[in-house]
């Protein structure tokens, strides 16, 4: 029952939040600041992770394809893996760990120090001023971060595959160009948008409903990571099945 109640609360919270997104967008400066906080400040970790994931893809992909004499398909394999799965999913998991916890702890501390109460007393809706810009910042940043992850991942894959393992450069890129379709790209974009909504919603909701104590904020940040990760993987399955 408590899971049903929490889901219901989350849904109502989302509806209230969506109603405030329009007014929040009328204050672009706030949203841009949050895109910077959630997006630009996550770039380093996303690009580093993308690079290493791409390199591992290059290594593993080469090893696997070599058994079937299909090393030239490494580019296709890396691109499809990154665009359709690894890019959106790993970015979402990194986002939950870095930006999500930051959002949760920031909003949770604002509640613990009465800042949200003070806003309500000043007749300013905290959902509109604090929560909605942070939610929008996460939603907008996620697909952009996933795109960066994919680009850097492909660079890492070609660095290992082409430079190290000796896969033909032309084959690497031309097979990718010939076999990767727009639908594959769209699948990744849709996934990253959906993960962005899910992870950002969980992060701001956890912070907004955190107990106003040190322990409460700590529990809320843990909840953000766990819930965002599990929900991301669940949604990944659902969306993958829907696209196939």
């Amino acid at each position: 029952m408590s899971a049903v109640r929490v889901t219901g609360q989350l849904a109502l919270f989302l509806l209230g939040l969506l109603a405030q997104c329009g007014p929040a967008l009328a204050r672009p400066r706030l949203v841009v600041q949050q895109i910077y906080n959630a997006g630009a400040r996550s770039l380093i970790i996303v690009m580093l992770s993308g690079f290493f994931v791409g390199m591992v893809l290059g290594l593993q992909g080469f090893d696997l394809l070599q058994r079937f004499g299909s090393e030239d398909a490494l580019g296709v394999a890396a691109a499809l893996s990154l665009l359709k799965e690894l890019g959106p999913v790993v970015t979402a998991l990194l986002f939950a760990g870095r930006a999500g916890t930051s959002l949760t702890s920031e909003i949770g501390l604002m509640r613990a120090t009465d800042q949200l109460n003070a806003m309500q007393i000043m007749a300013v809706d905290p959902l509109r001023y604090v929560v909605a810009p942070r939610f929008l910042g996460g939603v907008i940043a996620m697909p952009l971060l996933a795109a960066m992850f994919n680009v850097v991942g492909l660079f890492g894959a070609q660095l290992v595959g082409v430079q190290l393992m000796g896969v033909d450069r032309g084959a690497f890129w031309s097979q990718m160009q010939g076999s990767v379709e727009l639908n594959d790209v769209w699948e990744g974009v849709v996934k990253s948008c959906v993960f962005g909504v899910a992870c950002s919603l969980i992060a701001v909701h956890s912070g907004y409903t955190a107990e106003p104590t040190a322990e409460g904020v700590g529990l809320a940040t843990t909840r953000t990571v766990v819930a965002s990760s599990v929900l991301t993987l669940f949604l990944d399955y659902m969306l993958t099945a829907a696209f196939l």
């Binding site: 604002m110 009465d114 109460n117 003070a118 806003m119 007393i121 000043m122 007749a123 300013v124």
Partner: protein, 265 residues
């Protein structure tokens, strides 16, 4: 009467916080609400600001029953009052100037020069014009509370509510806050509600006082009348007696029984 609390009961998680509470705040006066810890003073403030609704009874502010107001009307009512929170509750990502300007930016279309003039004037009123560019983390407790006071008055409210304004302050800062409370009331004609258990400080500035205990008003009058009261609970509070109608010991089983059960364990 600008605030009228009538036969209010407030219950949460099966615990009765307030019961049969009657209280009025007269326009233009400083009303002190005092009482032991946990007696419902902060809860009463939440009822007055419509952060909470009573289980029974009515709370009228500016003649309006808060229970009949919709969300927009509650927000409109809140624009006419200011609250000074115990810890100031400044927005930590803005400097002092932006904190004080915040209500003006959110609720008015004033030009930037006019906002600047208003903010500087309010900071000057609390003696912190020179601190406009500091961040909240750089302020002392007393300074943070003064900035919060400047923010609370920037929209020229009709009621100012002070929630424990003297807690944790050194004597000089307390003197400053006392002076400011009186100045806001006399100079700007703001009705002030001060929640505190600092009897001696409140006696210097309060016009009317209410003493809460057990979730209801047990005494009311001027601070001098309360100080002269013969009531045991009023005397215990006003004189700071450790044990009396408000007991020293938290409810516990018989000491012998408790010691014996420890031995058995």
């Amino acid at each position: 009467m600008i605030v009228d609390v009538r036969d209010v009961e407030y219950e949460i998680a099966s615990r009765v916080i307030l019961s049969g509470l009657d209280l009025t705040v007269r326009r233009g006066r400083i009303t002190a609400i005092m009482g032991p810890s946990g007696t419902g003073k902060t809860t009463l403030l939440k009822l007055i600001t419509a952060e909470a609704a009573p289980t029974r009874g009515r709370v009228l502010v500016f003649g309006q029953d808060l229970a009949t107001l919709d969300r927009a009307q509650v927000f409109a009512m809140r624009k006419r009052l200011g609250v000074l929170f115990q810890n100031g509750a400044l927005l930590t990502d803005m400097d002092v100037f932006e904190n004080v300007a915040f209500p003006l930016r959110e609720h008015t279309d004033l030009s930037e020069p006019l906002i600047r003039a208003l903010v500087v004037a309010k900071l000057n009123a609390v003696g912190l014009r020179g601190a406009a560019e500091l961040m909240p983390a750089e302020l002392s407790g007393g300074m943070a509370r003064r900035v919060a006071l400047a923010r609370a008055i920037v929209m020229d409210p009709e009621i100012l509510i002070y929630d424990e304004p003297f807690v944790g302050l050194d004597p000089i800062s307390r003197g400053v806050i006392l002076r400011l409370v009186r100045q806001m009331n006399d100079g700007l004609g703001i009705t002030s509600i001060v929640v505190s258990h600092d009897v001696h400080d409140l006696a210097q500035i309060a016009d009317d006082s209410y003493l809460l205990s057990g979730g209801r008003v047990v005494a009311q009058g001027t601070p001098q009348e309360l100080a002269a009261s013969e009531s045991a609970v009023v005397r215990q509070f006003m004189q700071g007696i450790a044990d009396g109608p408000v007991p020293f010991h938290y409810p516990a089983p018989d000491l012998r029984t408790q010691l014996e059960s420890v031995d058995e364990r």
